[in-house]
């Protein structure tokens, strides 16, 4: 009986809510695309549920053309206001970013090190990763060789899953050397992915779906790969084992190899970024369907709501899976790239 009541309540809510919401949006066209990209993008404040007006204010740190640093809360420039000569651009190249006006009155973009929504989410992720990993480390320090249970045990299982399954099996004797980097990458990406799926405050930022984040991670893998690359690895790039014609008058193979050096991190960047952004986009698009169909009457809107919500939940669940898979794939590929650069000549002499 209770369950039946609950289902009815949800259905009624589903039929009424979109109507009232679309009525409240002043009859203006819903800017679907803008809304989607707004949710995928960064911002100078953190949205709170059920309000388009209020945001959690975050510090804005900018350096103007004279090299002076300005620091103020984002609430000061929230609704088109200007503070200290800075405001958020409404349109143009820097739309949605903090801009200032120089002496000539032209708009310019200051050096912007603001703690934006994504940056704060980054800090939260770092904190969560530290909390998780250090809890395991603390356990090992305190309890010696006893096997951990519950949460700590789960995290340890994940660590040894990645360490034994990916790092050790690929890098062999070099495993311990690169394990700290690779494990950090895995847990950082995994936590960022999962936090991105939580809809309200501590999560919701589309971090790994932002190209800057994945670019930094891929660049780091690129650096680790090439800095620790062996002589054999460099020889294979500039003087590979191919017929002479392929490398002497025209360095075809070396060019391809050098090109390959950069396509690897590029692939890493795009893969993680596109997968996570795609997941977020689908969920938002499914939610937006409700508002698109809202003006067509209660029946259509209600039906769409039910279907959309079910699909959103389904997609979010898949995204949980994707979060893990993408973190795993990124780590695995990084491990393979590093392992390839660690190769020593084996069939020579």
């Amino acid at each position: 009986m209770k369950k039946v009541f609950l289902i009815w309540a949800v259905l009624i809510l589903a039929f009424i809510m979109p109507k009232s919401l679309s009525a409240s949006s002043e009859g203006g066209e819903l800017a679907i695309k803008e809304t989607i990209f707004h949710h995928l993008g960064d911002g100078y404040g953190w949205e709170v549920p059920f309000s388009h007006h209020h945001r959690i204010p975050l510090p804005i740190i900018v350096c103007d053309n004279d090299g002076v640093w300005h620091c103020f809360m984002s609430s000061r420039v929230a609704h088109g206001e200007t503070y200290d000569g800075f405001y958020i651009a409404e349109s143009g190249d820097y739309k949605g970013k903090v801009v200032g006006r120089d002496a000539n009155g032209t708009e310019y973009r200051p050096i912007d090190l603001s703690i934006t929504k994504n940056v704060l989410a980054l800090f939260i992720s770092v904190f969560v990763v530290l909390l998780c990993v250090m809890s395991v480390a603390r356990w090992h320090k305190r309890n010696g060789y006893k096997a951990p249970r519950k949460g700590v045990g789960a995290i340890e299982a994940l660590i040894s899953f990645v360490y034994d399954g990916v790092i050790k099996s690929t890098l062999k004797e070099n495993a311990r050397r690169f394990a700290p980097y690779l494990l950090t990458v895995f847990f950082f990406i995994f936590v960022m992915n999962l936090l991105g799926l939580i809809v309200i405050f501590p999560g919701g930022a589309n971090l790994t779906g932002n190209v800057a984040v994945t670019l930094v991670l891929a660049t780091l893998t690129f650096l680790v790969t090439n800095i620790f690359g062996t002589k054999h690895y460099w020889k294979d790039i500039f003087w590979p084992d191919v017929p002479l014609l392929l490398k002497f008058p025209l360095p075809i193979m070396p060019v391809i190899e050098i090109f390959g050096m950069f396509t690897k991190p590029a692939a890493l960047t795009v893969r993680l970024f596109a997968n996570m952004m795609g997941g977020h986009m689908i969920v938002i698009a499914l939610t937006m369907l409700i508002f698109i169909f809202a003006p067509m009457g209660a029946a259509v809107a209600g039906a769409t709501t039910v279907v959309s919500v079910i699909f959103s939940i389904f997609m979010l669940l898949i995204d949980v899976l994707v979060s893990f898979i993408q973190a795993y794939v990124f780590t695995m590929l990084s491990t393979i790239f590093i392992a390839l650069a660690q190769e020593n000549p084996h069939h020579e002499e």
């Binding site: 993008g41 934006t116 770092v126 990993v133 090992h140 060789y145 950090t184 932002n210 190209v211 991670l217």
Partner: protein
């Protein structure tokens, strides 16, 4: 589009936070955990090996114990047999000794009997000779009542003595 153009601020902060996270975990996190996991794996491996060895030794020990028991049984049997032999030997010896002793005692008895017999014989002879002499003297006294006969005897005796010398 904003999504595809990396923002400098985010790159900067991403780099900083990753560096901080990496350094902290590199120093305080991963080595402890990985050493712990590896150490535990080693400990478990060693434990298994130890248990296997112990089991092997136990099996071996059982075998050895069986061997010892068999050995002990054999020794026991041997001892028993020996003891039996010794017993019969002792009895034999005792019997022999007893026989010897008895022989000796009998011999001694025989000797003493012989002696007594001889002594008795001697006494008997002595007494008989005394009786004989008495009887003879009595007979002689009867015969030599007359002088003539006496003289005749004396003469005869004297003749005998003469002849002897």
């Amino acid at each position: 589009m904003e999504l595809f153009t990396p923002d400098f601020g985010l790159i900067f902060w991403m780099f900083v936070s990753f560096a901080v996270l990496f350094i902290l975990l590199w120093k305080f996190g991963w080595p402890v955990i990985l050493n712990g996991i590896d150490g535990r794996a080693d400990l478990i491996d060693k434990g298994v090996e130890y248990a296997q060895n112990a089991k092997e030794q136990l099996d071996h020990a059982r075998e050895e114990a069986d061997k010892y028991i068999a050995d002990a049984r054999r020794q026991q049997a041997e001892l028993l047999r020996e003891a039996d032999k010794m017993k019969t030997q002792i009895i034999e010896e005792a019997r022999e000794a007893a026989q010897k002793e008895a022989q000796k005692v009998m011999d001694a008895a025989k000797v003493s009997i012989e002696q007594s017999r001889k002594e008795a014989e001697q006494n008997f002879r002595n007494e008989v000779s005394v009786f004989a002499l008495d009887i003879a003297s009595k007979v002689v006294r009867n015969q030599l009542v007359d002088e003539k006969a006496q003289t005749k005897l004396v003469n005869t005796l004297l003749d005998e003595i003469e002849k002897q010398n």
